[in-house]
């Protein structure tokens, strides 16, 4: 997807990992920041109508976040299941 600088400034990059990536059928998308204050709002929008029953963790700019953590245009947010490395 090619974006102008102005368009990028108005969007939030959203990443999905592991089982959540497979469930939502998406690795990564750009969404408009319109009407989004918290990462909880982002999750509401992207998961709307999907049947997500598992536990979902949030991150903003590669740091763990809570549902009420604020997001702004240009942020990279991610949603993923509990981690299982090591």
């Amino acid at each position: 997807m090619t974006q102008t600088k102005a368009e990028k400034a108005m969007t939030i990059k959203v990443l999905y990992f592991a089982s959540l990536r497979e469930l939502l059928g998406c690795n990564e998308e750009l969404i408009s920041e319109d009407g989004l204050n918290t990462i909880g709002d982002v999750w509401q929008r992207v998961s709307d109508g999907k049947n997500v029953t598992q536990q979902v963790l949030y991150s903003i700019n590669q740091e763990y976040a809570q549902a009420e953590s604020l997001v702004k245009a240009g942020d990279e947010v991610a949603f993923f299941p509990p981690v299982t490395g090591g």
Binding site: Q62, E63, G85, G86
Partner: protein, 150 residues
């Protein structure tokens, strides 16, 4: 040093090279380390292979933060963390955490601390290819939870 690697690694070779290169001869009295290795069995099923997914960028950032935290809590000379990603086979080392310090208390406690934080928070996910007992067909499944470390 923190390394995320896609190729198999030998923990003993990595420890040996790193220890030589760190040039701390005579300073360290203690090295505690842990290697996590892929087993061929999980939850009663035979595991044939595994794919380790991670969140590039956040992984390195998070591991850096854990190591920094350990360095603030204990008196450490050097740390080494290696984590494998991509396709793995049974008996492949998955993770290595090593800590060098003057005295053993610091090395023991910091290595376990780093390992536990890594297991519970670093953004890695395992997907296994398993053959259940009494069935021949292989299936893939995401590992849902790590075993408890305490």
């Amino acid at each position: 040093m923190i390394k995320i690697i896609e190729q198999p690694f030998d923990p003993w070779h990595e420890l040996s090279s790193f220890q030589l290169a760190m040039r701390r001869d005579g300073e360290f009295g203690a090295c505690a380390n842990f290697t996590g290795t892929m087993r061929d069995m999980n939850e009663g099923d035979t595991v044939n292979a595994m794919v380790l997914e991670h969140y590039p960028g956040m992984t390195e950032k998070h591991l850096g933060k854990i190591v920094q935290e350990a360095k603030e809590k204990w008196d450490l000379l050097e740390t080494l963390v290696i984590h494998r990603v991509g396709e793995l086979l049974p008996n492949d080392p998955i993770v290595l955490v090593a800590v060098w310090s003057a005295h053993r208390k610091d090395a023991f406690e910091a290595s376990r601390f780093i390992m536990e934080d890594l297991k519970s928070k670093a953004p890695f996910w395992k997907k296994e290819s398993v053959s259940g007992s009494g069935q021949q067909a292989e299936k893939n499944r995401w590992v849902e939870k790590n075993t408890s470390g305490y």
